[in-house]
């Protein structure tokens, strides 16, 4: 997969071939191996290898993009010509200033040879181990074990040259109780997930046990009335909310267009003082990526500092509009939706999950959320279901598993009602965050 020599040569040719005033070539090479399992056996086992070459050509203030998945001299050259041809047909965009100029990019270890060499037989053995642990507890296992090898390279005619080889791996385990005759709402399930660049850091058996223990604890769930509850959100649930907040609120385009909750509130306290949120592509606790899809170094950007709104993330286009510098958060062109955070962190606290439960007179413990969506972006109202382990907490202990509930909640308001912040953060969905205890969270309907 590591073919950077040839790839960079083709990119240089693409830059020359476009004939445009400015040209950018982005190549994403990817080899993904994914082993999916259900009912404790592999049912989908796949491998794919491809490249994506995107050329952005600029003629005056006219921009065109063309993409191919063929990494050959002829197709890269033809794609460059096509991008320039489209640029000449486009209308001028007066807000566009220039492709970015080069700057220093930090070195980062993002490629692990052993991960790249993962064999299908090893992944099958991992599934057998997980299935055995599940069977021992009367459960079935479902999930996926993914290993990806990637190369990302960005070059432009102003001198930007950025290249990174990466690996990424992830394991998701869902344990389901094996008893038949249960309806969807009555079947207990448990969840555990790990993701990282180095597969060697994965403890398969421990992860399987977490999912199985959740499932076992969730048997015979009771239905409870929806309403406002104190809630303890495990890191996976927090990560989902944080990821959505990043998407709808922390990108410069949303702020500039008046669609973000941050509009006109920079410098104000918008969340509880225990909440700090930032984006950092170089922190090894996340999925490290040192530059963005314009080849600009990712800066650490403080978004919320002790509850106070600090700012947003930028690409070169949105930065130019405010006379700022890009923070290195561009997505692949063309991208009318603008920049966004992709390595979010939330500050940890000193509280253990057990301590949060012990301090709760009546509330709910939520493992994770399912099918979350935005009800109102500016008001940061989200809705979604709980899934794979929801428990009633009474008198400082977990009293009963409960059937899944739907929440509909203003997330910024929820992050003003923080009572405790966990000390054991986890990485889920690109967000590294702790568990949170919130004094009030709105559950609006029940199964």
């Amino acid at each position: 997969m590591r073919v950077e020599g040839t790839m960079l040569e083709l990119m240089e040719n693409g830059l020359k071939d476009s004939g445009a005033g400015q040209t950018e070539v982005v190549v994403i090479g990817e080899r993904t191996r994914l082993t999916r399992f259900a009912n404790s056996a592999i049912h989908q086992n796949l491998s794919e290898k491809t490249h994506r070459v995107t050329v952005r050509a600029v003629v005056g203030k006219r921009i065109g993009c063309a993409t191919t998945n063929r990494l050959t001299a002829g197709s890269v050259s033809a794609t460059a010509h096509r991008a320039a041809e489209l640029a000449r047909l486009a209308e001028e965009n007066p807000d566009f200033a220039s492709l970015p100029s080069p700057g220093p990019i930090a070195a980062a270890q993002t490629y692990f040879e052993q991960t790249a060499q993962s064999a299908p037989e090893e992944r099958a053995q991992a599934v057998k181990k997980i299935a055995a642990i599940a069977a021992h507890a009367g459960c079935r296992a479902s999930g996926s074990l993914m290993v990806t090898e990637m190369e990302i390279a960005v070059a432009n005619s102003l001198g930007v040259r950025a290249h990174q080889s990466l690996t990424e791996s992830a394991l998701t385990v869902i344990a389901s109780e094996s008893a038949s005759g249960l309806s969807g709402y009555e079947t207990a399930t448990g969840y555990a997930h790990w993701t990282g660049r180095d597969l060697a850091a994965l403890d398969i058996e421990s992860l399987a046990r977490v999912a199985v223990e959740k499932c076992s604890a969730g048997r015979s769930p009771i239905a409870i009335q929806p309403g406002d509850y104190a809630v303890i959100l495990e890191p996976s649930a927090v990560a989902t909310l944080l990821g959505f907040l990043g998407w709808i609120g922390f990108g410069a385009t949303a702020v500039q267009e008046g669609r973000s909750f941050l509009c006109d509130r920079i410098g104000e306290r918008v969340m509880h003082e225990s909440i700090s949120i930032w984006d950092d592509g170089l922190d090894p606790r996340g999925l490290v990526m040192p530059f963005d899809f314009e080849g600009i170094a990712k800066q650490r950007v403080d978004l919320i500092e002790r509850g106070v709104a600090k700012g947003a993330v930028y690409d070169s286009y949105t930065a130019h509009k405010e006379g700022k510098k890009s923070t290195g958060h561009a997505f692949p062109a063309p991208n009318p939706y603008g920049p966004g955070p992709s390595n979010l962190f939330m500050a940890t606290g000193n509280d253990s999950l057990e301590g949060m439960i012990a301090s709760t007179e009546r509330g709910l413990l939520v493992t994770r959320f399912h099918y979350v969506n935005v009800v109102h972006p500016k008001q940061t109202i989200l809705t979604g279901m709980t899934r794979d382990g929801t428990f009633l907490v009474e008198g400082g202990r977990i009293s009963r598993p409960v059937r899944n509930l739907r929440f509909t909640q203003n997330i910024v308001q929820a992050l003003n009602a923080v009572e405790a912040v966990g000390s054991q953060p986890e990485l889920h969905e690109g967000c590294f965050c702790p568990a949170l205890k919130l004094s009030r969270f709105a559950f609006t309907s029940a199964a």
């Binding site: 259900a38 056996a41 989908q44 086992n45 796949l46 991008a83 486009a90 399930t189 500016k378 309907s445």
Partner: protein, 481 residues
């Protein structure tokens, strides 16, 4: 290209596969995006490659590559077989495939004017004019409009002897505005939300939409919604407009009838289904007027094709008949588990993805009401349309939708706009209250271009024929303000 598929299949058999199918897919996409009077995106994309699926000892393997030289095809065959052998180590229930007659065929969707040949100047001009008309009210701060054209050529061969070539052409357009004022924000879309309106066809699809009039209308509606009263909470009779009904059918019927979900294949990701096999032919899904069919032969539908990605011919299948659940979307493997023939619902998102059971065109059949008649019967209720937010649980029972716009109905007449309408329910209880469906005159096939399923996620293009539909008791509210 079909010969190359044959070669891949042959290599897989030689490497030890008992069954193999190969697909070469070539895709061409053109997209234009205008935002606030500026052309922000103009893109042309091509994508092609070969995917090979094999069975070894009753277990599946799949390998795909964009490289189509001899060495790559040999490598794909060896890797697919090795993956299948690894799958077999975990002792899955051996796959057995329902019978299908080997077919040699060619199929092409219908279009009049190839949109890739329409001058770029005309396309950009249309979007810029739609953008201008949508932003006539000062409250409208953002307008995004887009055109997308998609062509796909597929070449398919199986070890059972099928050889099929197909070509699809889809076209679509969208305009979306955001109005902002006094801390409130409202969005409106035309012709529908979720990437606009798409259908099988050429430039004539865009011409049929009257994009300019629609853009002007939604600009005004978004501005008016800023000061409209919030939709109240409570239980009311509600008419759901045709475009929102498309997503209602999609989420609460289309996904739960996918038989792979029922058997647990998606348990770790999208979830399972409440429509378990013992309910087939027995379970009351909705009221007696509810008739739903899956139809991959429907003209204009994004889920229309000649043959699915297992070589099964397109067809129409009853899903709900007079309210009773009576059919699934099936693959050859899942159909065999029920002792049935496949109804051809296996579709893959490109050459590099494994076919999964996907929706085709899942349609709520029309009734015999006019919209005016449906409104006239309502003492106090609401008409809601155009999706803003959607969510449903992992067994497809508890759902909640927010629509972009709502109208209050009093004493049989529409009396004004309401903003932020949210409704929620539980699938069979909700459909049990269905008491009127508008007639064929109001019925339209909506294309959904962003249906996600599987890992790595596959995005599918599916269709839903719907008309405005009335439900006698719908729970409104639940969203905070």
């Amino acid at each position: 290209m079909t010969e190359l598929c044959e070669r891949a299949v042959d290599l897989a058999l030689r490497a030890g596969a008992s069954y193999a199918d190969a697909r070469i897919v070539e895709r061409e996409t053109e997209s234009l995006h205008v935002k606030n009077g500026k052309v922000e995106g103009l893109e042309s994309a091509t994508d092609s490659g070969l995917g090979l699926r094999v069975l070894v000892d009753g277990a599946w393997g799949f390998a795909a590559s964009a490289d189509l030289d001899d060495a790559s095809v040999q490598s794909i065959a060896e890797e697919a077989v090795r993956l299948a052998q690894a799958s077999a180590l975990t002792s899955p229930q051996p796959a057995s495939l329902s019978e299908v007659e080997p077919t040699r065929a060619a199929w092409q969707s219908e279009w009049r004017t190839d949109p890739f040949g329409v001058p770029m100047h005309d396309k950009i001009g249309l979007l810029l004019e739609a953008d201008r008309r949508a932003r006539q009210r000062e409250e409208v701060k953002v307008c995004e409009s887009a055109l997308t054209f998609f062509r796909e050529r597929k070449y398919f061969a199986t070890s059972e002897g099928s050889r099929i070539e197909q070509e699809h052409l889809d076209s679509g357009a969208s305009v979306k505005v955001t109005a902002i004022g006094d801390g409130e924000m409202q969005e409106r879309s035309y012709p529908s939300a979720l990437d606009g309106f798409h259908a099988a066809g050429g430039w004539e699809v865009v011409e049929s939409l009257d994009l300019l009039a629609g853009a002007e209308r939604i600009g005004g509606e978004a501005a008016d919604l800023l000061t409209a009263p919030v939709c109240p909470s409570g239980t009311f009779p509600v008419i759901i407009g045709a475009s929102q009904m498309a997503l209602q059918v999609h989420e609460s019927c289309g996904h739960p009838i996918e038989l792979d979900r029922v058997f647990g294949s998606e348990a770790s990701y999208a979830g399972t289904s409440f429509l378990t096999p013992e309910k087939l032919g027995q379970f009351r899904y909705g009221s007696k007027i509810v008739n739903i069919a899956a139809d991959s032969t429907l003209p204009g539908g994004l889920g229309t094709f000649g043959y699915d990605d297992e070589g099964v011919r397109s067809c129409r299948t009853d899903i709900v008949r007079e309210g009773i659940f009576c059919g699934y979307l099936m693959s050859r493997e899942t159909a065999a588990r029920l002792g049935l023939p496949s109804n051809g619902a296996m579709r893959a998102d490109g050459w590099n993805r494994l076919p999964l059971i996907r929706m085709t065109n899942v349609n709520l059949e029309p009734g015999n009401w006019t919209l005016d008649e449906m409104i006239r019967d309502i003492k106090h209720g609401f008409l809601l349309d155009c999706t803003r937010s959607w969510s449903i649980d992992d067994v497809r029972l508890n759902f909640q939708f927010t629509t972009e716009i709502g109208w209050e109905i009093k004493d049989g007449s529409i009396v004004g706009l309401v903003r932020n309408p949210t409704y929620h329910g539980v699938t069979p209880q909700f459909w049990a209250t269905c008491d009127a469906i508008a007639s064929k005159e109001f019925w339209k096939v909506w294309g959904v271009v962003g249906c996600g399923k599987g890992e790595p996620v596959q995005i599918m293009r599916v269709g839903h024929g719907t008309a405005p539909t009335r439900f006698s008791a719908v729970r409104l509210g639940g969203a905070q303000e």
